[in-house]
């Protein structure tokens, strides 16, 4: 079964996301900061990464995504955003933003599962 890495600094979001994915049969590894997040990806080589855009700094998630891509890690990335509209970031996947899909918090379980399954199927 697929392994999903969840990187978010909000413990409750990690908890909720993990529960939903586990109940659908996914395996989950988690980290609550960019450094640990980098480590779990290197270590576990997950099938999918769920990454929060705003951790300590407003664009920590971006830098981490760029770092993965620079190092040739092609694992699909689903990015969690929370105030993209409010701060005027309008993301679209592309070279500048090397992620595969976005999901705006709060997320409903079905939507999350649908996005995850969709990204895994593409691969």
């Amino acid at each position: 079964m697929a392994l999903v890495a969840i990187i978010d600094d909000d413990a409750d979001i990690i908890e909720a996301t993990s529960l939903v994915l586990k109940s659908k049969g996914f395996s989950v590894v988690t980290a609550n900061n960019p450094n640990d997040g980098y480590a779990i990806v290197k270590e576990n080589n997950p099938n999918l990464i769920i990454l929060d855009v705003m951790m300590d700094e407003p664009d920590d998630g971006f830098f981490l995504a760029q770092k993965f891509r620079r190092e040739g890690i092609k694992t699909p990335i689903l990015m969690y955003t929370s105030v993209s509209k409010a701060i005027g970031f309008q993301y679209g996947s592309g070279e500048m933003v090397p992620v595969d899909d976005f999901v705006e918090k709060p997320i409903s379980p079905e939507q999350l599962v649908a996005k995850v399954e969709n990204l895994l199927a593409k691969k």
């Binding site: 409750d12 908890e15 909720a16 529960l19 109940s23 609550n32 701060i87 997320i107």
Partner: protein, 488 residues
Amino acid sequence: MAKILIVDDEKGLRLGTKRLLESEGFLVDTAENGTEGIAKGTSQEFDLAVIDLKMPDIEGLEVLQTIKAKYPNTVCFIATAYASIDTAIESTRLGAYNYIPKPFTPEEILHHLDIGYKHRKLLLEAERLRQEREVSLLEISYEKSRLRTIINNINEGVLVINTNGELAYFNNAALKNLDIPDLIIGEFVLNKIPKGISEIVNKYLESSEAIKKSYSTQVDIKPNFELVIEANCSPIVDEYGKISGIVIVLRNISDFKKIEMVKSQFVSMVAHELKTPVAAVSGFLKIIMDESLNVSYEQQREYISRSIIRLKGLLDLVNDLLDISRMEMKTKQREIEKLDLVELLNSTIQFLELELAKKGIEIIKTYQKENIYFNGDQNEITRLFTNILSNAIKYNKDKGEIAIKVFYSTNYINVEISDSGIGMKPEEKAKLFQEFFRAKNEYTRGVSGTGLGLTIVRRIVDSYHGKIEVESEYGKGTTFKIQLPINN
């Protein structure tokens, strides 16, 4: 009624002419020689004068010149028995309107005087118009200099550009607002002004129909909001409805843009901080509602209690935001009263007793006097102490200590609160008073807070004209030094 002077040494002619003219309604005065002629002709202004050319004392031409020099609008005739082309030319050259050959018939002289009087009226009218014109020219130049002074003294830059794109007018503020070293009236200026503005000017100039609307645009002259201007461009429309030029008013809006940016950053930070707990709680609730996930009862209880914690955090945040906004709007009714800082510190410690006991933290108090008085608002000062002390507990180690010192210096009451906690890295210390900044490192995970506590502290201290300083060593502890001015 025309006033006329007759200068002639021939008595009969003098009196005969006087009688004739008076009967025709003229006001007549006479002089019997050149000397008297000059005296009378220069003592008041006559409409007309008839001067004999040959007189024993002074020549008629000299009398003519002298009168004309004083009253150029007196219409003079030279009367002469020696009429010749030469004297005629000479007398008119010297200012005579015409000459009258002697002897003359009544009809002849009346005819001459009639034409002369009409000429006199024209001269007076011309004189009046000349004076009027001089007055209005003076007014115009005064008005122009007044306008120039006004326009040069306003903070808004003003540029006027003609239909060839050449500069017709500018003021000093325009140079400053465009950050251009010099401009020259008459030079082609469209390539010297910012593109955003010249595009608008071109729109006016290139349009086949006169555009009557005004357009405005904002231009960054220097980056990072150092110089931002708003340019308002309006057409100058002539009497035929065609554009004769463009007037551009340049306003420096840098400060406004800076405030706007700070505000919108703050709004987006607030939005993020508000949304984070909402997203977490909403995530939990959706999981509980989703029957396909089969969440156990115990787990549901766990999620609900975690949601309650997040909602409490959200409520704290909203309250902090309200406090900040109240402080900013200064609508808060302050109740300034005589406060005992020792008493307030002690009651704050008591209020935080539970948290102190949980971590086993010891408080060491050093108060210079038994009572230390300060005039302030009790809610604000209590809030100040609570925020700092609760940080000193939250970021302390188990079984740590907190030292509180209160003492006087020359102008200030000093309150120093030191903890034996986790301290701060220099880069964390630098951001300490920023809204929503919370130190994030291996020690601080699990410490909750709104990120606004110290923002509020600093605003309270500032509002009393006090000072606040922080000393900190990572891993060892932090000291907040607050100075409140002695005001009691």
